[in-house]
């Protein structure tokens, strides 16, 4: 947070004349500390700086991501083993169909994350920042969004945008190869049906986190150091609010893929959900095994995404706090 460091620097400049000697070459001070009496505060400041930023070979975020990736691989291995035991005839999974199906499911999930971000972030920040009618409306809409079944929301979207307005087709999928724009447009409504509930989670959680961050004593501390409230709020609130929110989002993110496989069926999309259900109906164990592994993999990837995002926003997480 550069604003905080500016503030600290400003305070040090006014209180200590020696601070100027610290600022240009702190590294030199750490390597060869000289026990001159005038340099005692300098030395103390240098040791403090060294204690603050211990040297590491691996950045904590990278190490954390690595561990989570390892966890993902372990989860996949355990799940694959479990499915091999539970599915009757001993067959090896048939991954042949998977690529085509994931070409539908993956873009849908990605689009849904985009929708959730674009709708949920502004709503959450707006409701957190402005109390009164804005807050009331966002909370009302947010609770409605998290309570609506994505299946039903999908049907309502079809009724509105396909049947009544005629802007988009009610279902089905045009392959990417023949018509990329058509393929994308057939994923818009499913992504909305999935993304709007997620944006509700995002908005509600972010609203609460922004409120909590605005009431934080840190803000007052920054203001007593001479920062304007606006600067303090801008440099502090978004990051702290997002740190708390990314934690709340881990469960909704894990539910995204299963919900997506259900919503695919509402729009007659030939994705992973369809593959799973047809394989189940036809008792095609090889395909079923592959589809289940893909399901577990996708959920695990979504969880990994959430965890790494959280660790990137909140430095306490990779530090193991």
């Amino acid at each position: 947070m550069p604003a905080l460091e500016d503030a600290i620097a400003a305070v040090e400049n006014t209180s200590e004349a020696t601070a100027e000697t610290v600022a240009p070459a702190p590294a030199a001070e750490t390597t060869q500390p000289e026990p001159a009496p005038a340099a005692v505060p300098v030395q103390a400041a240098a040791t403090l700086a060294a204690a603050k930023a211990p040297r590491r070979r691996v950045p904590p975020l990278l190490a954390y991501s690595g561990w989570r990736l390892l966890e993902l691989v372990a989860t996949l291995a355990v799940a694959t083993g479990l499915f091999a035991v539970l599915l009757p005839a001993a067959v090896s999974p048939d991954f042949g169909m998977l690529a085509d199906r994931l070409a539908v499911t993956l873009p849908m999930i990605a689009l849904c994350l985009v929708v959730a971000g674009f709708v949920g972030l502004p709503l959450g920040f707006a409701a957190g920042g402005w109390s009164g009618p804005v807050d009331l409306v966002v909370r009302g809409v947010g609770v409605m969004l998290v309570s609506v079944s994505p299946i039903w929301l999908g049907m309502l979207l079809i009724l509105l945008f396909a049947a009544t307005l005629g802007w988009l087709q009610p279902g089905g999928f045009v392959p990417w190869a023949s018509n990329p724009m058509g393929a994308l447009s057939s994923l818009v409504l499913p992504a909305l049906a999935l993304g709007l509930p997620l944006s509700g989670w995002l908005a509600l959680s972010l609203r609460d986190s922004v409120r909590k961050a605005l009431a934080d004593p840190w803000l007052e501390a920054a203001q007593t150091m001479g920062q304007s409230r606006g600067v303090a709020v801008r440099s502090f609130v978004p990051r702290h609010a997002l740190a708390a929110t990314t934690r709340d989002l881990l469960v909704p993110l894990a539910l995204l893929v299963p919900a997506g496989l259900v919503v695919e069926n509402v729009f007659y999309l030939p994705g992973l959900g369809r593959l799973l259900l047809t394989a189940l109906a036809e008792r095609d164990h090889a395909t079923l095994q592959a589809a289940l592994v893909a399901l577990v993999g996708l959920v695990a990837v979504c969880r990994l995404l959430g965890q790494v995002l959280r660790a990137a926003v909140d430095p306490r997480v990779p530090e193991g706090a």
Partner: protein, 279 residues
Amino acid sequence: MTIAPPPVGRTFSLFRLRLRLGVIATLLILLIGFVSIVWTPYPVDQLDPMAQTQAPSVAHLLGTDALGRDTLSMTMKGILTSFVVAGVAAAIGLFIGIPLAVAAARWGLLAERVLVGGAGIFVSISALGIAVLLTLQFGPSALNAMFAIGLYNIAVVARQTRDDLRTFQGRDYLAASRLAGLGGWELARRHVLPGLMPLLGGTAMAQLAQGVLLEAGLGYLGLASQPPGSSLGLMLRDAQTVMLIEPMLTLVPGGALLLIVLALNSVARGLRREASDAA
């Protein structure tokens, strides 16, 4: 010297109102579900070819579906199915998940790691994956949905409870009572559980709400209740084939689903809010 006494009781606020409204709405919907055990306007397993896809009328308050079944009766039964499946699943999650989390917290870091890792695997397989496996073995039924959602709930509840327990670690009053000679289960019962209760209540209600949505999803896929039985997910599935001609048939089960989950979520959010205010 006078010290102003701390405010007794809570001032009236919107979230208390929401919590109360949520509880009342939940109980009313639950009542509708229970009424369907002894009485529905029409039997749900009786097809009436003469009354296919009727608009709402005095005889059929919410109309009839493509097979001539009364929509109101189907919805009442569906509400019951939702509550029973989600309720049993939530109970499974709570009765196994909470003790697991408490045990892991007492046994130390390794147990916690195992708990978090195991929960991660179950969350990744998800209720859908478990339901598919159960359906493959035993055929589709509401019982499968219960166990699938219940197993998934165990993972979520255990994880959530462990996080909630962590917020109690390092509290000064716990250290103080430990110094006073209290330890183990007595400490947990006297000082952790009372603060934990509202949080657990919030978790339970949230799992119930999520369970209703998951049951609808599994029912929609045909992995839960089967036709003579009624569920809101099945109704949505049936309605979809005639959706563009008869939009009314999708509005009723979807709207009922929305009301149930809205009521449960209001209670869950209210309880969590209460807990965070008390802390």
